[in-house]
Symmetry: C2
Subunit: 262 residues, 2 copies
């Protein structure tokens, strides 16, 4: 059994074929992480408490509060307290920049900003002419699964990776599927890696929020083991993004702009 | 193929064993739903656009803005516009009641309120002495899976149900696992069904937020096909909630208060 700071081993009761027994079980660690921006509390995420700096950066990038590391004056992680403090060079009022954003807790939406984002994005479709052979898509999904060690041990996390047409570049696992992608985004921001010619590979479902995230980054190809929704298909169509779901074994469903899978 | 307002059939490209072909695919519908309370915009959820009244009621209940239908003066659903308007008898300022809540978009957390909720809950553990035989737990999970028609067609939704020890009482599917549970909560609120002696059955993972939701409702037993986290185990332990995960075939993992599974 893999142990590490993301796994806790606990004695639990297993019921198997009519018999109860006690055994050790590997449980994935979940912890709160609060992001402060210029001294103001922004949000508390529940996450896999690793690479908190990347999660904070990726979250800020996804929320449109940050587009480059040049805007960051300082970043401090207080891992034990579950705090990340980000100092932005732009000291303008955070509330003003977040104007229109609404509380959400259901894991599936944003407020008014959702519609604003839709409108803004539709005017800026993805241009990349990158293509990917189906066999390469399968290979990338296989690499994702091979790397998913925390999932294999606990069953309680999602995984996400950014890849070129041949191999995975960065890979993260997190209890939140959005967190896993935000850690990727944070890492790419930190290392100045452009996403406009890359592929996002994920274990999680392709909801409209995931498509919005990808569209903001101009990601041309999304691969998932899971299902899309009508709204994500519609967004991918409009944004010129190639969306592939149910990449499993020797099959996959290409929902939009299938010319890139050639 | 089941068709209905929650499924859209679309022509997509399937890749199978090296060959591309065009075929019809069933995709689950995702749509935004905005909740107004006393004329003020509260939140936009992305959801399966059915039973919007229940989702709105359950969301408000989960957020602590509502505890009984007696507090509701009126409720209007404008399905085509994706709007639910709720009039509460208490006209006091919504912002004041939401004080301390923070924007979240990652699907896995709340802000300051998360810690406040933790503290409040820990002082009010679940008292129910209800028990459930392992065989009954299996049966309930089987019933959940049998009812999961939308999942079988699209692979893109979660399911949740409330049950007594023998059978499922209400069942909902939604693209969001929290939405599915909130629809259950809304229905129980509407029909004045107490949850303190019931069982929550869900396809989704048992994160700390799901435990907080259950704890607020004093639900004594949670059954899931999926994994828990360290924080949800800790909460279930403290709240005297029996949490059972990986209920699959003739096995299940009992994480806390196993005396109720007897």
């Amino acid at each position: 059994m893999v142990t590490g700071k993301n796994i806790l081993t606990k004695q639990i009761v297993l019921w198997r074929e009519g018999t109860k027994e006690t055994a050790a079980d590997a449980i994935t660690v979940e912890a709160p992480m609060t992001i402060f921006v210029n001294g103001e509390e922004l949000v508390t995420l529940l996450c896999t408490p690793e690479d908190m700096d990347l999660l904070a950066l990726g979250f800020l990038r996804s929320e449109g509060l940050l587009t480059s590391m040049d805007e960051v004056a300082a970043l401090r992680v207080k891992e034990r307290e579950g705090l990340v403090e980000v100092e932005l060079k732009d000291r303008s009022n955070l509330a003003a920049r977040l104007y229109g954003k609404r509380t959400i807790t259901s894991g599936c939406g944003k407020g008014t900003v959702f519609f604003q984002a839709l409108d803004a994005l539709r005017s800026r479709p993805v241009n990349s002419e990158i293509t990917l052979a189906p066999e390469q898509a399968r290979q990338l999904m296989r690499q994702l699964q091979e790397k998913a060690v925390l999932f294999k041990e606990t069953g309680g996390v999602h995984s996400a990776a950014v890849a070129d047409t041949k191999k995975i570049i960065f890979f993260y696992e997190d209890i939140g599927r959005h967190n896993a992608v935000d850690k990727i985004i944070g890492r790419c921001l930190l290392e100045k890696i452009t996403l406009e010619d890359k592929i996002l590979v994920t274990s999680g479902r392709l909801s409209s929020e995931m498509l919005l995230k990808a569209a903001k980054l101009q990601l041309p190809i999304l691969l998932s083991r899971s299902a899309p929704t009508t709204l994500s298909v519609e967004l991918a169509e409009a944004m010129n993004i190639t969306m592939v779901g149910f990449v499993r074994g020797r099959r996959m469903n290409i929902y939009t702009h299938e010319w890139r899978i050639a």
